[in-house]
Amino acid sequence: MIRLKVNGASRQFDGDPDMPLLWYLRDLLDLTGTKFSCGMGLCGACTVHVEGKAARACVTPMKSVSGKSVVTIEGLSKDGTHPLQLAWKQCAVAQCGYCQPGQIMQAAALLREKPKPTDAEIDSAMQGNICRCGTYQRIRQAIKMAAGVKA
């Protein structure tokens, strides 16, 4: 039995301990904001926070999150008012939007470590997150807006 916290709620899982966290969140908990895209940790669409740090849920087996706290896009804020979510809306970042929960979760982890990131730090932190629509310049803009640094 694996016990963990998801968005603050205690959960128990007695399935395949090798099942990636991604499928547990999506298929079993119906938290579909965390997206599947590559399954190899190459694109960042499934980014969540494990113990406050960004993790790729598609390559994070359930056994590795035993006793840990997981936060998904649904738990990032109560009502979509995390500064990044507000900035994302203001900058109209999303096109199709599929990668954006992962982008926002990655950016949130970045701002926790570096509240005033430089351009280089943003590029470094965000280069694991692919956006096929090509919204990168607005992602950068929104992160800076949320961080209160000059665009």
Binding site: S37, C96, T135, R138
Partner: protein
């Protein structure tokens, strides 16, 4: 548990009927605009409903894959109706021919439905005004709709849309000749950056994409398909698969019958209680394939065949003057070959669909660009009437043309019929890349003769590529008119001797249209070659390009004997206008500061301009090539003339995104095949641009225009690759004649 949005989607089928029974007014405006009276096979139909409360319900019948169309078209209707956007609810249409074409492909949603939306809005507005006039016993001409109410200024009477719904419903639908349209100055929403309707859901994770759809009791299916296109299943052993916890069943899907069209590819499916179990079970499958004749497919050999074909005379598709005579006479001639490989769409959301077969009918939930194609394909595969296929459209996690082919929905429907439960088919990234409907490979040969100033006096463009037509006619090699019309036969240059030729070669894979389609390779060839000529002439690229294009004029392609597709639009309405092309070049040059840029020593600027999807686009790209040969793109300036635009910010976003899409294919995109199999599988070997590789800042400059609306989703892509290659040449002196750039040593 069915997700909330899906429940709502189910209820949408009854939307129109239930509204009638609730005493609401439903307005169905069937309009056949002038555009439809040619050979064009679309008939727009707009549905607009009012709830008794006065809430306006607008049906979005086109698919949302990131362009903002689910917002933009309803904006047009709401504006013309004088509705208050806050009192508008958007409902996504199911697939139904009554809406006209729902094929969200070809950058035509605004172009084809702008007028229909205005007509629907203006009709309903007039009916509301007439209803108010009757109620107050005043002339209708004195009643005016204003922000969700009708006002009679003389008497000061006002009535909300809700109050008038029942009365308005009794009015007859006005004739088009009675409609009075708002002037642009009166627009409330058109031309304004209205936040897209899905904005909240997109940042909180609640937006429902196809991959997120669920139905009660559904199984998840992962499908093993032949690694060689057209391979046949010999046998399979699922004994180990069935031992995987959560696996419920295996099932086979019959192989397609040529032509493959939108059929399921065929294969062995593993059905399980969750995605992971389905994937694990599939890993344990032992499958024997008879690979068939395509096992010898090699993209390297195909490339040579294409290049060789391009060196020989091919079918003439446009001919002006006499290029051969001019080549023989000219003092100087130039030749060059260009090559663009196969590409995969790689939308972030791989294909997925939920389908339930029950009582002889199929209900599907799918991220599809074309729900009516879903109806057709599922109907054909299951042998049921089209009307018994109900296709709900979810949000699409990117489409780029891939999701206009509904093979994955067919798979879900076939499996549901076999197992008697709803089935969600999930494609992995590997399957998405290996079994794509690929953007076709192409080879091009160019030859030009030039005069003393280096200006071309003769131009030959030979383009050889396997055609998308082979998806619909087995073995087809002749290019489709739309492929030829994407840059090959519509070159807008003022050259007295001009010839375009086309040849075809078979390629045993599924070929499909991808964002900008044939414009991608044609623009790459044309603008690389014109850059080579400009360099040989020692002339400024902008000045040279404008000279080659020549004076502002409308090119009469019909007079040259060219059967020109023109996106299905008559040339009288959407001419090939060199004046508009010149203007975007001048604008991009001005905004990029072209005149003051000095290329060289690892830094360079390149330019390309292309008309596609009836829109004129010029890109100026700045590149930096470092000592290690790495290419960075600090800045792109894109000038756009797309005619009338509805949502300026979403237009800018499309061109920002197109610059990234174009950079991906130019710098790193390549699909290859060996021993019959596609060699790429995921983002490590089919990379797309990441944040540090994409253009750092793309500035979009939109030409203010009241011309007819054209396209914006695709035309931003074609100029990017040649502008990048030209900038690399300007920076390094190295000419890129084959994409992707990563194949070349630039250090």
């Amino acid at each position: 548990m069915m997700r909330e949005q899906n429940v709502r989607m189910v209820s949408r089928r009854g939307f129109l009927e239930t509204m009638f029974s609730a005493g609401a007014m439903v307005l169905g405006v069937q309009i056949l605009p002038e555009e439809a009276q040619g050979a064009v096979s679309w008939q727009p139909s707009v549905y607009l409903g009012f709830e008794p409360s006065g809430t306006v319900v607008i049906v979005a019948h086109r698919s949302e894959m990131g362009t903002g169309i689910r917002t933009a078209l309803p904006m047009v209707l709401a504006d013309e109706l004088e509705a208050d956007w806050k009192q508008v609810r958007i409902e996504q249409a199911i697939g139904d021919a009554k809406y006209g074409s729902q094929n969200t492909d070809g950058s035509c949603s605004i172009r084809d439905f702008y007028v229909a939306m205005r007509d629907a809005g203006a009709s309903a507005r007039l009916m509301l005004e007439r209803a108010a006039a009757a109620k107050w016993n005043v002339p209708a001409s004195e009643c005016k709709a204003q922000s969700h109410q009708v006002v009679h200024a003389k008497s000061g009477q006002k009535a909300g849309f809700g109050e008038l719904v029942a009365l308005a419903a009794k009015q007859s639908v006005p004739a088009k000749s009675e409609l009075v349209y708002k002037t642009p100055a009166e627009f409330r929403y058109v031309g304004k950056d209205v936040p897209v309707v899905d904005l909240d859901g997109l940042v909180t994770g609640s937006a429902v994409f196809g991959y997120d759809a669920k139905a009660p009791g559904m199984l998840y299916a992962s499908i093993e398909r032949s690694p060689v296109f057209g391979g046949q299943l010999k046998s399979y052993d699922d004994s180990e698969t069935k031992k995987v916890k959560g696996v419920v069943a295996t099932a086979t899907i019959d192989p397609f019958k040529p032509p493959h069209g939108f059929q399921a590819l065929g294969g062995v499916a593993v059905l399980a209680e969750n995605s992971w179990a389905a994937m694990q079970g599939r890993k344990k499958l032992k499958v024997n394939w008879e690979p068939g004749p395509n096992a010898s497919w090699e993209s390297g050999a195909l490339k040579q065949a294409l290049l060789e074909a391009a060196r020989k005379p091919q079918k003439v598709v446009r001919n002006v003057g006499n290029v051969e005579a001019e080549f023989a006479r000219a003092a100087k001639t130039f030749e060059a070959e260009y090559y663009v490989p196969m590409l995969a769409h790689a939308a972030m959301e791989p294909p997925a669909a939920v389908a339930e077969f029950k009582n002889g009918k199929v209900t599907a939930w799918a991220p599809t660009q074309n729900p009516q194609a879903v109806q057709d394909a599922v109907s054909a595969a299951l042998g049921i009437p089209k009307s018994d296929v109900i296709c709900h459209v979810t949000l699409l996690g990117g489409g780029f043309g891939r999701k206009s082919k509904p093979d994955y929905v067919v798979e879900a429907a076939l499996l549901s019929k076999q197992v008697g439960r709803p089935v969600k088919v999930i494609w992995s990234r590997e399957e998405d890349i290996k079994f794509d409907y690929f953007h076709t490979v192409s080879a091009m040969y160019f030859k030009a003769a030039t005069d003393a100033k280096g200006r071309p006096t003769a131009w030959l463009h030979r383009s050889v590529f396997p055609t998308i037509g082979s998806t619909f006619v087995a073995g087809a090699t002749d290019a489709q008119d739309f492929e030829l019309g994407m840059g090959l036969v519509d070159l807008p240059f003022d050259i007295p001797n001009h010839r375009a030729e086309n040849g075809g070669v078979k390629n045993p894979v599924r070929i499909g249209w991808m964002r900008a389609v044939a414009n991608i390779y044609h623009a790459f060839g044309i603008h690389s070659f014109v850059d080579e000529l400009a360099h040989a002439a020692g002339r400024d690229r902008v000045e040279y390009l404008l000279d080659v294009i020549g004076s502002p004029r409308k090119i009469d392609l019909a007079a040259q004997g060219v059967k020109y597709w023109n996106n299905g639009q008559p040339l009288e309405k959407y001419p090939v206008d060199t004046g508009r092309l010149r203007r975007v070049i001048e604008l991009a040059a001005e905004k990029s500061g072209w005149a003051n840029k000095k290329s060289g020593q690892g830094r360079g600027w390149g330019i390309a301009a292309h008309r596609s999807f009836l829109t004129y686009v010029c890109a100026v790209v700045e590149v930096e090539v470092d000592a290690a040969g790495r290419v960075r793109i600090p800045r792109v300036d894109v000038a756009v003339d797309a005619g009338t635009i509805v949502h300026p910010d979403r237009v800018r976003a499309q061109f920002e995104g197109a610059a990234v899409f174009g950079a991906s294919l130019a710098l790193m995109g390549e699909i290859t095949g060996a021993k019959g199999e596609v060699q790429q599988s995921n983002f490590h070997n089919y990379p797309v641009a990441r944040i540090h590789e994409a253009p750092r800042m793309t500035h979009v400059h939109v030409v203010p225009s009241s011309e007819l609306p054209a396209g914006v989703g695709e035309p931003g892509v074609p100029p990017i690759a040649p502008a990048i290659a030209n900038a690399i040449f300007a920076a390094t002196g190295k000419r890129i004649r084959e994409l992707p750039v990563k194949r070349h040593k630039l250090a």
